[in-house]
Symmetry: C2
């Protein structure tokens, strides 16, 4: 089934960071009201909601939305690890594409700083994490193998953080908005050899939202962003026994599905937001997305190809490394960034003239790293149709 | 959008009860393998999964399914309070009806006995519950009002438990399979005046599943159960300020939507599974579903109308009062019961010749009883088409 009938009518996000005192409902309000205003809709226009949250208590989402006036409509709250927000987006988009609804809110929220302490993923406290099998260690093992197998250097890895933190200088909603140097990244505290602190995303409190509806046709509203495709895959038991490192295959498979449905190749995409929870993650992901070959992700980032001003900027928002990673909100913040980029509204971090963008989010990997989830979506801005 | 293109190809459940040592993956295996066998499919045939769980840790569902061999396909895990399982069913059904997939697993799981102590809902331990605003109290207030306003008697309320526990004598998978008398129900320990212990559902460990696909046409397989309709609604802030008691309106609204989409009225339905978490809940629900008028639910159950052998049996499985209420699994266990009833496979609890059945699940209501969720589905057995 190939469809591209739906469009993003509006997006919104809260700021990202430690905002413990604001609380979930306030963050939800900020993101949702901005998205509704952007779409030119009122709360009462929304026909259904798909929401992503991982650590939210039962009822978190419905209570947050009711205060805004989104009531009596179907609300489906989804947990899909780090990909929860983009899974909600994917389901919302297909609910529109298949004619179930005409005005759907995709929403994501996570409040973490009140519950978790420190800059590293709370997954570190689960049973596997307690044995050292936490996310930083998993990525640390990938990084070690890349250094051995492909000669990826510590400097190449660190250049992901330098690039993304540099991009975030232009993103007023990012948590970390100061540029950092290679020396600062490499000199920060070691977390999971060879990954240092500045190569890990922080936790955060945030919400993000997108309003999705049918394409509005000709003359289309200024700024209409069309959803060319989206794909959702789950991994398999023992994903970590692949010939590649953990996560490579599922990102490549999901991207292949999204590219095929959109009728594009990776070379056609002009701006990406990808899951850079750790620096090595972005290196692996750019390979799996087809921006370069296996093992070439280190040289790619070091070359400037994926920096603002390069041929295919990756994470112009600053990515997870700068926003932080409030799990349910992350995917929809990535979507919002690409929408702003494709409309030419990204200010100091604008990729000039970007017409096609893509978002990739990968989740899962705890509990013996059994399986993952991944979403890739391809979005088309008005520039591609003018 | 009115569609009735999908059918339930197979169902399965684990037993229901305290099965702490079995663990989630084993329960998932029992339910899913039974459903796949019933559908005549292998694990590798499943194209997507919609799953319901409330208290499951992130990754619970994907890990459970991967051991069965359901891998690499989209898995969407939904939390919608007590209605999580039927919300997963509703989304799975619409994914088939709209042509997204042809073989979808709807799945629900909850393991509670290892985490919660006692027979009463774990919601009692949330912040509202700690102030006494737990589910038994909310239902206790409804019961008190019904006694005042409509003259509903303690005996009428208790007769719901007598009926459902009596039904469960014929259900080998129920947790409580011994019949109880009015005196035993009324004489059991007081939980939330006027609700006694035997009028409250227990917690439980269980899983349940249904395989959904397109209608297979003529000649249709023996036992094809068609999904005539399903409806999902969420409540609104201050649902408890309605003129009716808490929950009445949303059940009535959701049922109206499901009946209209199916082209039936409540009088056409020959067997129901409904959300009897507490006895007063079933009384209110039978009214809201249209089996009788407002305030007439007490006399209705006392009359035998909803008992096996009566005109419209309600909860022939024994309901939540007999199975217990493992939140994510409950809705799909209700679906499984109606499928067995419509195929004539319900053994000692069979409603003779039942051709149309309905399932109702209501969730939510914690945290200041802000809002609810409700799903109603209408199912048609092969007898209705022969």
């Amino acid at each position: 089934m190939t469809l591209a009938n739906s469009a993003i009518w509006g997006v919104g996000t809260s700021a990202f960071g430690k905002q413990t005192s604001l609380g979930g409902p306030r963050l939800a309000w900020q993101a949702t009201v901005e998205a509704l205003d952007d779409a030119g809709l009122a709360a009462g226009d929304i026909e259904a909601v798909y929401a992503g949250t991982v650590f939210g208590d039962p009822g978190t989402v419905t209570r947050s939305l009711q205060q805004i006036g989104i009531v009596e409509v179907p609300v489906v709250t989804i947990e899909n690890a780090c990909a929860s927000g983009t899974t909600a987006f994917h389901e919302a988009r297909l609910a529109v594409d298949t004619g179930r609804y005409e005005r759907v809110l995709a929403f994501g929220i996570e409040t973490m700083t009140a519950h978790f302490d420190g800059a590293i993923s709370p997954i570190a406290s689960d049973p596997d994490g307690a044995q050292g099998f936490a996310m930083p260690s998993i990525y640390g093992m990938s990084a070690t193998r890349y250094q051995h197998e492909f000669g990826t250097t510590p400097e190449q890895m660190a250049s992901v953080a330098v690039k993304n933190r540099g991009h975030a200088v232009g993103n007023p909603r990012a948590q970390h908005r100061k540029a950092v140097t290679l020396e600062q990244v490499l000199g920060s505290r070691l977390v999971a050899d060879p990954i240092t602190l500045f190569q890990c995303c922080s936790i955060a409190d945030a919400a993000a939202a997108a309003v999705i509806g049918p394409r509005r046709g000709s003359p289309e509203p200024a700024g209409e962003v069309v959803i060319r495709s989206s794909a959702l895959r789950s991994g398999r038991l023992w994903d970590h026994t692949t010939d590649k490192v953990w996560g490579w295959d599922i990102v490549a498979d999901t991207a292949a599905g999204a590219y095929e449905a959109a009728g594009v190749g990776p070379g056609d995409i002009e701006v990406f937001e990808v899951h850079d929870a750790f620096t090595i993650g972005e290196i692996i992901t750019t390979e799996a997305l087809g921006l370069c070959g296996l093992g070439e992700g280190g040289p790619l980032v070091a070359s400037g190809h994926t920096t603002l001003g390069g041929a295919q900027p990756v994470n112009p928002s600053g990515g997870l490394l700068s926003r932080g990673h409030p799990l349910g909100a992350t995917g929809l913040a990535q979507i919002a960034e690409i929408v702003w980029q494709l409309r030419g509204q990204a200010g100091d971090r604008q990729v000039p003239g970007a017409r096609l963008g893509a978002v990739e989010t990968m989740g899962g990997g705890t509990a013996g790293i059994d399986g993952n989830a991944c979403v890739v979506t391809v979005l088309e801005g008005p520039g591609a149709r003018s």
